[in-house]
């Protein structure tokens, strides 16, 4: 059963990721990104990370992809990109070689060190996972006790990001340009 979930979610993740990289139309690429994000959310659920799965769907698939689509519509760049011309010679083959190299090195490291992983089943305090909201409680205890200072800093980060974006995307009035 878990194998079936893994295979289906992996197909969603990889199919969506290949869609992002290969689709010419930016809108199609954004929708492929949604597929990948949902696949990742399914894998979070199969790891009992229920809160993160919900946040993944709400924040990533909900907010971030909608933001992408807004910008695509706002800028009117939803025309297909012409993939037939290649401005830098041999850029694409080299890019694929580098990508395969990165994946290959990481996979080699994972496979060679897989015996050092603790066997699955020792899990995150399985005894405490009896109640359905145990994951949320554990995560909340971690965020609001050990990492409370980092949590407060993220609010400052979001505030700075919002103000910076308003400043960047603001349309300059002609009187200000003249100064």
């Amino acid at each position: 059963m878990e194998l079936l979930v893994f295979v289906l979610a992996a197909a969603m993740v990889l199919g969506g990721a290949l869609g992002v990289v290969t689709r010419n139309n930016p809108v199609h690429a954004a929708l492929s990104l949604v597929l990948t994000l949902f696949g990742i959310a399914v894998m979070f659920i199969s790891h009992d990370a229920h809160f993160l799965a919900a946040v993944q769907v709400i924040v990533y698939a909900g907010a971030i992809v909608v933001l992408f689509l807004f910008v695509i519509m706002l800028l009117g760049v939803d025309k297909s990109e012409d993939m037939s011309i290649e401005p830098l010679t041999a850029q694409r083959p080299l890019a694929v070689i580098v990508g395969l190299g990165v994946s290959g090195v990481v996979i080699a490291a994972i496979v060679s060190s897989k015996d050092s992983f603790v066997k699955r089943g020792s899990g995150i305090d399985i005894a405490k996972l009896e109640s359905p909201d145990a994951n949320v409680k554990q995560l909340a205890r971690s965020i609001f006790s050990d990492y409370v200072f980092a949590f407060e800093l993220t609010s400052v980060l979001l505030l700075v990001a919002v103000i910076g974006t308003v400043l960047l995307a603001r349309r300059q009035r002609s009187s200000e340009v003249a100064k």
């Binding site: 990721a17 930016p26 690429a29 790891h47 933001l67 897989k114 700075v160 990001a161 349309r171």
Partner: protein
Amino acid sequence: MISIVEPTETWYLVLAAVLFGIGVVGVMVRRNPLIMFMSIELMLNAVNLSFVALATSLADINGQTAVFFVLVVAAAEVVVGLGIIVSIMRRRSDANADDMSGLKG
């Protein structure tokens, strides 16, 4: 009766590595800055997946806490990046990273 293979953490980590590689190729191959951004999101998600897989296998909730902070930073990064793209595109209306060489001094 066939023996049922259960996916181990190694499977998830290998999938995350493949997803990261696809994201790397996307950033280098595509010239539309929006799609380059989406490829960066793919790489962030690959890292999140391996964080969660290792949090389960090492029985440590702090891996999931790290994913929470990555999500927040990714949201901030997307907002700022799209703001920059919008303000550039307003001046020059073609979506092509190669034309950004005008940013050189």
